[in-house]
Amino acid sequence: MAEIVKESLTDREYKYGFETQIETEFFPKGLSEDIVNLIADKRNDPPFVREFRIKAYRHWLTLKEPTWADVSYAPVDFQEIRYYSAPKSKKGGEGPKSLDEIDPELLETFNKLGIPLSEQKRLTGVAIDAVFDSVSVGTTHQEELAAAGVIFCSLTEAIQNHPEIVEKYLGSVVPYKDNYYAALNSAVFTDGSFVFIPKGVRCPLDLSTYFRINARETGQFERTLIVAEEGSYVSYLEGCTAPMRDENQLHAAVVELVALEKAEIKYSTVQNWYAGDKEGKGGIYNFVTKRGICQGAHSKISWTQVETGSAITWKYPSVILKGDHSAGEFYSVALTNNKMQADTGTKMIHIGKNTSSRIISKGISCDDSRNTYRGQVKIFPSAENARNFSQCDSMLVGDRCTANTHPYLEVKNDSAIVEHEATTSKISADQIFYMKSRGIDEEGAVSLLLHGFCKDVFKTLPLEFSVEAVKLLEMKLEGSVG
């Protein structure tokens, strides 16, 4: 059985590996204070953003690349990366005013990725911000959202149009000093999405950002900021792809979420960056800092991620539970195959009273991949009656892969209840036999078992993404599964 699964996994091709031939403008390779200033010039940054970049860059110079993660790779040469690359605008200088002004080549790219920007605008109930290399190329449904008072645009636009909100929250959850890649991102971030949900508003649409890396030798450094004011709700989805290349490309993003009193943010990711070929050549280095803060009482932040791509993943979406009665959730499915390495998990920092958190992590490792769960649950002395439940299950397919679990439980309050469970399993011959005896073929049986294994996570995804995630998993495991 394992042979069939294995075969199908290694033979899978990456569907989104094409490259768009489009005229782009980019900066020379390398990183220096001049480049940071150049990015600020290019984007017409107000002084507070420029200052933030310079401070971050200077701090970054003092830091060393972290080595504690359970991944191994050749060191990244930060001077070999282009820090800015953007499709050339036809009008020159100005960005596209509306979707009609977007280069048809770009629209075609997003069509091919299954994200038809113009069509989407009319047909479905999801507003999309499409980010291509370093810039946002278009955001749909803006009028409809504006009517509800929701601001959904690229971070660049937000910095120009709503500087007061950006200044208040930028770097408030992930300060530029946070870690090596967060500092790098703070210095050179180019675009990303910005969401602001005003008091009491339930966002009428699901918001979505689609990230695409296209140009060669570039890194993508986007920064997303979501602010949900008192009593508001938003569901945000994120998807990513990149062309197939022999070289490794760096993606170092920062995502900051702020939930005020009784607000709820649901953040879902389907990550499908190019993972490299069978020999582990090429692929994206996905070094991402994602963190949310439940600032107000009764607020809630929920992270759901389906990680199926990237040569190396280094990602820990976290929640700081500061408000009393606030809740944090983390649901994750991480699938690694070939020579992929994933070190992913979460941090739940309990500060407020009666805070609760829940962690469900499912890791599937195949071939020669490494799949590591690393999670921290920290209960501060102030967190009376905090409650945490963690469950981390691993499934191994084949005998050359690795599944590791590193939970850190730090409890400084006696009223806390913290539980952690982890199991490791493989698809057993008994299970397959049972299903075959019921007339289900082997592929169908494996597929069913995998779906069952991941069900707890998939059911938390918004419908559109749930379908996409299942498809993605099936595609990765096609041949024997589904």
Binding site: H406, N413, D414, E419
Partner: protein, 446 residues
Amino acid sequence: MTTFSTVQSIEQAWDQRRRSQTDEPRQVTERRERSVRKILADGLPTTRHEEWKYTSLRPLLEKGFVLNGSVKSNAVHPDVDRLVQSKKQAYSLVLVFIDGCLDQDLSDKSALAAIGFKTLSQAESEYDADWWDAWQSAPGMTGLFAAMNAGFARNGAVFKIKKNQIVDKPLHILHIATPGSSSEVSATRLVFALEDGAKLRVVEEFIAIGSTTSGWSNGLTQFKLGALADCGYYRIVSAPDLFHTGSVSVVLDRGSCFETFSLLAGCRLARVNVDVKYTAPDAECIINGLYLTRHNEHVDHHTCVDHQVGYCRTHQLYKGILNDESRAVFNGKIFIRKDAQKTEAYQTSKNLLLSKAAEIDAKPQLEIDADDVKASHGAAIGSVDPLELFYLQSRCIGRAEAMAMLCRGFADDVVMRLKDDSAKRLLNARVADWFAQEVRRAGASS
């Protein structure tokens, strides 16, 4: 006289030792030097090191323990004799160390000879270099305190249990710290080589005379089990002001069975490392532990089980009860290597926090490279259920007693799992002592 403060102090102490110990065989000195060099190369760990994230060496360094004090004649404390006699009544095989020095007069020499007993220095000169090198490369020997012991320990004992020899009485090793010991490191090394089919039970107990005796004992205990050998090792530390560091290293051969229990019921700062390695299939290891802490005690257990071959089984359960401002650390690692198919490994850590200021840092860790295995780990941290407490109180049981009763039940779960009856009785008595003190304390404060 050099006090333990920096890595340089270790180098200095080593130089002094080498100059003064000219009668030692050259290969022994060289072997010891290798361990010391390892420490010098690594430096002293800080809390930035993953292995030392939650335990700082600072309290130990601040005390300024003397690394290479003079070997002193056993200062006979009136209580020592009484204590040893009482132990002798209960156990027939007793080996006594006083402040780290082997006291042969108090030990049972003739009985010990039957189980291949040699003092460390005898064994160092009698057994050849290959024999010693194997012990030197055992798992966990690169750890700071294991290396310090291997480099500096002057006292110790080596046992060779012959093929199919069954030692039916438990061997009781007693480490007694007397009030005069406070400023020195007492490092003792114990080596147990069990040949095929041998069977042995060992109880190693660390106690202090006088409630404020605050020495530092740095023990190294090594086991190597031949095929089908069976060994039980029970470690008890109950000396509230003692600094205690210990390294236990175990190598298991085909079909052997090792059961160990670590009870920490009182010590100022403790760090116990247990390293187990399987070298052949079908071996089994049961690693259990219980830590009971109060005041500002800090206890740290690091265990590492390395499944290098398949068809072996590990069962691990550690429990802790923490009161006052005490802090406990549990880090359990289980490695299942590529070829270790059909491994079974289960690990559980459960902790009760009885006070607001107590802190627990648990890190159960699994690293699995083989697919056909059964492995799980779990950790739970919580407090006593108020409903259970209420129920007992409604039955006219005082709060302190009810509390102790519930905690006792929690602790008994792990103690009662012991296979060896005499060890179970002994550990049970120690746990009872701790709870009796707890109830007295609660009575005094209310």
